[in-house]
Symmetry: C2
Amino acid sequence: MARRIGILGSGMVGSAIGAKLVQFGHEVKMGSRTAGNEKAAGWAKSQGAKASHGTFEDAAKFGEIIFVCTKGDVTLDALKLVKPESLKGKTVIDVSNPLDFSKGMPPTLVPRFANTNSLGEEVQKILPGANVVKSLNIVNCEVMVNPKKSGGEPTMFVAGNSAPAKDEVKGILKQFGWSDIIDLGDITGARGMEMILPIWLRTWGATQNGYFGFKIVR
Amino acid sequence: MARRIGILGSGMVGSAIGAKLVQFGHEVKMGSRTAGNEKAAGWAKSQGAKASHGTFEDAAKFGEIIFVCTKGDVTLDALKLVKPESLKGKTVIDVSNPLDFSKGMPPTLVPRFANTNSLGEEVQKILPGANVVKSLNIVNCEVMVNPKKSGGEPTMFVAGNSAPAKDEVKGILKQFGWSDIIDLGDITGARGMEMILPIWLRTWGATQNGYFGFKIVR
C-alpha cells in the first residue's frame, strides 16, 4: 500500500531511504532546515513526481510515517523545529546515531546518549505523542535499503514502545529486503543498537569494507 | 602443541574454557583469590591429571598464556593480586565484561570503562609488561569454546597491541572451532567488543536463547 512518508534530513541516509521508498510507489517529502535546501531540491527533482521537499515541519506534517535521518548530533535540534502535533500518533523511525567526532576518529558516542541512555529514548521523550521506533542505524545506508548488498542475509533490530508502530516498521523493512528482524522490546533497546556503532566502525576499518551487516546466528 | 595455561577465575567462564583446554591436552591451572577455593579444587579434581588449582598468582606464574575470566567488576582487583613479573611478556586474554548490575537488570556497562575507555585497555594499563588481547567476551561461555553451539559459524574478534600475541590467541580460537576471526587492531578495539554486550543481553531477552553469536555478513 502506498503511503505518504516524510524524511527528515537530506544527507546520504535520507536520500537513500527516500529513493527506495519512491521506488516502491510511496510519496516522499524530504525535509531540511530551510525550504530552499539545494540538496533536498536536487534529490526531489531526480526522483520524479512522487518526491517533493520542504522544511522539517513540512515533511513531518506531510508524512503518515516519518524517518529521522539527520546526523545524530543535530537530531534533537531538528525535531524542535517540528510542531509536536504534526507528529502526533505517527510512527517515527529514528535512524540517527549519536556519534561524537570531537575526540577524533573513529568517533565515540556522545556520552549523555550512551550506556544508560540513548538518542532513541531522547527522541521519544521530546515527541511523547509519537511512536518512536529505533531501527536501521547499524548498517550503512546502501545496506539499509538493500541488505543483500552485504553479501548475505543479516539481522535487523527494532525497538520501540508501540507494537503497532513496530509492525509498520517491520513491513517497510521487509519491503527493503530484511528477512530476519528481531524485536528488542521497548525504546530502551535503542541503547544496544547505538552502542553497536563502535564495533561497526572498527570492523569497517579492519575489513576496509562498509558493506556488511550483523547476523544473529542462532 | 600442548601449553601451560593459567585461568584467573573459577566461575562458569573459567571452568568452561579450562575444561576445553584440558581436552586439547594443555596443562591448566585455575587461580582464585584463595588457594583453598572449593570451586577451583572441585573443577581441578573433575578434570584429571592435567588440571590443577591455586591462587591468582600461582595460575599467573604457571601459565605461558593466561585467560582472565573474572567478573568484570573485580578483574582489576584480581590482577592486583598477581606480581607483574609473573605475567611479563605473556599473552593475557581478557574475556571479562565490565557489567554494572547496580542499576538493575539488564545490566549497563560500568561508566568509567565504557565508550571512551574499556576494561581491556585498563587491564593492559595495569599490566604494561604483558600482551593483552581482548576476545571471546561477546558470547556465552559454552559458545566461546564451541561456536557451533550457536547453530552456525559466527564471527569472533580479537583486539590487542601485540601481533604475535593475537596470533597465539587466534590459534586457540581455531582450536575452539572459530573459523571467522576479525582482528580489530589495537587494544582500543576492546571498546566495541564490550559495548556489544547491551545488544547481546537484549537479544537474549528477546529470543529467550543464549546460544547465539554475531556473524559479520560481508
